[in-house]
Structure formats: C-alpha cells, structure tokens
C-alpha cells in the first residue's frame, strides 16, 4: 500500500532562510542598523574628540565648515560629531536593553497567565490593564523623581514600557496554540510545560513578538528622548540622542544643526528598525515564501 507514494520524491526545496533576496529598503535599513551598532561598539575609537571637550574658540560653528568639526560645534564649542557618536551608544544601549527586558518580562508573564489560567491570569491581566491605563511618562517621572537617576535605573524603567503588549499577545497566542492541537499533542507526548512553551509555542509566536518588538523599540528611543528632553533622562555631562535634542532646542534658530543631527539619527534608526522588523516577520515564517 505504500508504493502509491513515489519514493523518489522531488528533493525538498532548498530552504532559503538566511540571506534571501531582500527589497532595497530593507537592505538599506539593515545597513543603517548595522552601522549604528558598529558606531556604538567602536564609539571610543572613532570619536575625534572627547564628547565633553570644550573648544571655546570655535563655538556654534556650522557643519561642513571646518575639517576638525565636520558636523559643527555646540554652544560650548563641543564637537557635535563626537557627541552624536556617544549619544548613539547610550541611546541604543537603553533602547536595546529596555526592549529586551520588556519582551522577556511580558512574554514570561503572558505564558504564565496562559499556563495557569485562573487567578494568575487575572492578576497578570489586571497588571497589564493598569500599565496600559497609566500614562507611562507619569510613571517614569515619578520613579525618576523619587529614586534619582542612573543609567541602569533608566534602562530598567524603560524595560517596563510596553511589557503589557507582549503579555497580552503571548497569552492570547499561547491559549490559541494550546487549543490548536500541537501544544496538546506535545503535552500528550509527555513533554514538560517548559518544553512546550519554549521549544514549540515560543518559536511559533515569535514572529508576532518580533513585530511587536520592532514597534516598541522606536517608542523606547522616542520615550528616552522625551525624558531626556524634559531633563529627567540621561543627565549631563552624559549625553544621549534625546538629551542632545533637548539641550539643542535653545539654539534651534541660530544653530539648528545641534539638534538636527541627533533628530535625523532618531528618525532613520526608528524607521530602519520598523522596516526590517516587518520584513523579518515574513521571513521567519517557513509557511510563507
């Protein structure tokens, strides 16, 4: 009866998971993100000046006027390019750290809710509702006002941003996965719940979570910028993209380049992350293309 199937079946189509053809805008986005990460990693080597070094003779020099300060200088004669490079490092650290923290926290809570149901689920959902209902800026302001300010605290605080989305998504998808059958089937094979959740359900819902991460990532950058702009984020002399925008606003009419440079980086980075994330979602799904 088995000879009905041709055993010399066509070889499985070559899996083109990695390095597939990508649209030009995704390639550009990837290139941009790669450059940003490289800049962040190598920031100490490639900054022409110390980002705090003042050069009072050259204050408010415009960009592209001298070779020593290609992006110009700010009101204290500090090199904008050097400050930008250090800012990219700090902002990326905060954004990546916070995005990962909130993804892990939210997904874990979502899975716990889906697995235990009942009281645990109610508690998680209530926390998620609470988080969604409370303007995050107010929470951030109060925490920073009471506990002072430090980079780890700021990253941890940002890590609370957006976790409720992951929690809701993870919970909903895990519940539907359990109802769908493969989770039940694996459980019925005798697998531990951790195996079911981490090896099976997580990869299956990862695409949705990744898209959600790429949505949260730009928001974290913007939130950090907002907080720094308000003077509650990264404190001087440390600098970050938002911090640069915030302090540059006083010179927006006379020396717009001080804030235009970090603003451009914020816009391009958030755009690149969104484009790549959207493309990644499709590529991570073996049933598509």
């Amino acid at each position: 009866m088995t000879d009905i199937y041709p055993t010399a079946a066509a070889p499985a189509p070559a899996r083109k998971r990695l390095l597939p053809q990508m649209p030009w805008y995704v390639a550009l986005g990837m290139g941009w993100i790669g450059t940003m990460i490289l800049v962040a990693l190598l920031s100490e080597l490639i900054t022409p000046f110390s980002f705090t070094a003042m050069d009072l003779k050259y204050r408010l020099v415009g960009p592209f006027q001298t070779l020593t300060h290609p992006l110009g200088t700010d009101e204290l004669g500090r090199d904008v390019l050097s400050r930008l490079i250090v800012s990219i490092r700090v902002s990326l650290l905060i954004a990546f750290g916070a995005t990962i923290i909130s993804a892990v926290l939210g997904t874990t809570l979502g899975f716990l809710a889906a697995h235990f149901r009942g009281l645990v689920e109610q508690a998680v959902l209530m926390l998620a509702d609470f988080q969604a209902a409370l303007p995050f800026l107010i929470l951030a302001l109060s925490v920073l006002a009471f506990f002072g300010n430090s980079l780890p605290l700021l990253i941890g605080l940002m890590g609370l941003y957006g976790w409720e989305r992951y929690a809701r998504i993870a919970r909903g998808l895990a519940i539907s996965a359990s109802a769908q059958g493969y989770a039940t089937a694996i459980t019925q094979l005798g697998a531990q719940p951790t195996r079911v959740y981490l090896r099976h359900i997580l990869p299956n819902i990862a695409s949705t979570l990744i898209v959600s991460m790429t949505l949260v990532f730009p928001e974290v950058i913007l939130l950090e910028s907002g907080l720094s702009f308000l003077g509650l984020g990264v404190q001087p002399p440390m600098t970050s993209l938002g911090n640069m925008v915030g302090y540059g606003r006083e010179y927006i009419t006379r020396a717009a380049w001080i804030m235009l440079a970090p603003s451009t980086v914020i816009v391009l980075t958030t755009l690149a992350v969104s484009l790549v994330g959207d493309w990644l979602r499709d590529k991570l799904d073996p049933t598509l293309g």
């Binding site: 199937y5 070889p11 039940t184 089937a185 694996i186 094979l189 005798g190 531990q192 299956n204 073996p286």
Partner: protein
C-alpha cells in the same frame, strides 16, 4: 489475561453557561461507562457527534479526569494529569489525532518531530536512525523527513503522527477519528497501515470513529455509544452482522454495503441527541422505532446479550436471559 486499560463506570460532566447570567447547565458527556481493552486488541468506538466518544478517549489517556469512576492502565490507577508519573506513562500510551496538521508543529521538520518523544523521555540510542526507521515503517521516505508539515499531504501528515506515536513502542494507541479528515482513497491506506502496525507490534488500540466501514475493518471488538452511554458492545463481526440494540441496528443499516442488503434499513426520525437535554429513561426512546412505555421511565442496564456481547435495551433482555 488481564486488561491493559480499564474504565470503571467513568463519567465526565461539563458545565456550560448560556449568556452572561445564564444558569448553569450540566452536560454529562460520558455517563457511567465501563470498558476494557485487552493487550493487542482493537476496540472500536462508534457513535454520532456528541455521544461522548472523544471524551472517553481523552479519559482513557488520562488527559481528562473522570468526575466519577476510575481509569486504570496495566493494573495501576491513572496518575494525575501533568504529574511526572503521568508524563512517564506517555511512552506507553499514545494518541493519533483527527487533524494531523494541527497536531504538528509547523516550524519543525517532520523527522525532528518524530524523534521528539525519544528526547522527551530520554530514551538512549541513535534518535535519527530510529526516526528514519519509523518513517520507513509508515511508508515515508527519507526525503519526507526533511520537510515541514505544510509540505506534506493529509495522508502523509497522518503517517507522521502515527510514526511519532509509535516511536516509543507504546502498548496502547488511542486513535480519535484518525481518518475522518482524510480523503476516502487515503483513508484506506492509513487504516491498512494501522492494521499492519498493530499486527506486527501487538499494540492495543482504541479506535474512535463515526465511520462504521472503517471501524468494521479495523476492530476486533466494538462498542456503540449513544449520549454518553454504551448501548451495545461485542465482537465486531457479530455486532455488525446482527446488531441487537435498535440504535446499532439503525447505524449498521445506514452504512452502505456492497451487494444485497442483509438488514432492513431503519431510518431514524426525531432530532439528533443533545447531551444537554437527555431524555428520561432510555436516552434513545424518542427516536426508537420499537420504544415501549417502560423505555420512557426506566434506564436499561448494559446486560449480557449472547456470548461476549452486552446490550442495553429493555426489549432484548428476555433473549439475553435465555442465552445466559
């Protein structure tokens, strides 16, 4: 020979609530069923939708806890769902699902999924070789193993499920409507495969289906269920040849058979059974062509009706007593 699986007057209730403030309704999906599965035999369970056959299969595997009665496997009571003992028992009892695509993880290759039980239970040895052997046993090639579930046909997917279920050499296989989602031409292949595997490995099977042709082909014994109760049970050949309960008679007569009809066709009237509104007395009496006043008030017990057979009908009790 002692039974491999024993269900002792098991019952399972579900509580439903209609609307926000609707009152609780208790649905007895399975109502006091006793069954045994001997090692190496195939017990077919037939019945229409809502007759509780799937619930019974789930209880047999310990996936659901009976509200009343008990389930024991190989002489020991079924451990609690999710406990370490329950998980360990999985390598001795496996399940084949109705929808093979849903039961497979679409992100894993077929071979990886087939050998997953070996990893789960920490069974030593060359898992890959065992997986390829299992693939061959269900009639799939090596190439199929490297594919993803969505790249296989329905019949091939069901073979994968069977290969995965059998890789730990279980003693009991519960098949819950394993072929009803498949094309008729593929159904026969999968059923033949199950029959072959069962013969060569001597595993016991509980084969749940609403398809009488398939059940007749595969089962050594059948139990006919109606609204959560067994109405007739006995050797497959006899039950299909000479059904005693009016419901089994109607079922058997409704199944198409080649050649001249042996049994006069009984066409049931009335509504299909609703487990939420179980009729009094014999649950089948509103649709029974031969119901009497007694059927409306008194629940018939499942009593011996011939050698190795049991039936639950007031009208065949006298005959049974004569036979006994």
């Amino acid at each position: 020979m002692s039974a491999l699986l024993t269900l002792d007057t098991v019952a399972r209730e579900y509580v439903t609530r209609k609307g926000l403030l609707g009152h609780r309704r208790v649905v007895r999906a399975v109502d006091g069923v006793s069954l045994q599965v001997m090692p190496g035999e195939t017990l077919g369970i037939v019945g229409e939708s809502g007759s509780g056959k799937s619930t019974m299969g789930r209880m047999a595997l310990g996936l659901e806890r009976p509200d009343e009665g008990s389930v024991s496997f190989d002489g020991a009571p079924m451990p609690l769902l999710g406990s370490a003992a329950w998980r360990g028992l999985r390598k001795r009892m496996q399940m084949v699902f109705q929808d093979p695509l849903a039961a497979l993880d679409r992100r894993w290759t077929v071979l990886d999924q087939i050998i997953e039980p070996l990893t789960i239970h920490g069974i030593p040895g060359d898992a890959r070789a065992a997986g390829l052997e299992a693939l061959a046993a269900v009639g799939l090639s090596r190439d199929h193993g490297a594919r993803y579930p969505h790249e296989l046909s329905g019949g091939q997917r069901q073979r994968v499920i069977i290969a995965r279920a059998l890789i730990t050499n279980p003693d009991l296989l519960v098949c819950d409507e394993p072929v009803s989602a498949l094309d008729v031409s593929i159904q026969a292949q999968v059923v033949n495969l199950l029959i072959d595997l069962q013969k060569t490995r001597g595993l016991a099977m509980m084969f749940i289906s609403h398809d009488l042709r398939v059940v007749r082909q595969i089962s050594s014994r059948v139990a006919v269920m109606y609204l959560g109760r067994i109405v007739e049970e006995g050797p497959a050949a006899q039950v299909f040849h000479d059904p005693q309960h009016p419901y089994s008679r109607a079922l058997v007569s409704a199944a198409p058979t080649p050649g001249p009809r042996r049994i006069e066709q009984v066409i049931l009237t009335g509504e299909p059974p609703n487990p939420a509104a179980r009729p009094s007395g014999c649950a089948f009496h509103p649709r029974c062509p031969v119901a009497t006043a007694r059927c409306r008030t008194e629940v018939p017990a499942l009593v011996p009706a011939g050698p190795g057979r049991r039936a639950a009908c007031h009208l065949i009790e006298p005959a049974a007593k004569v036979a006994a």
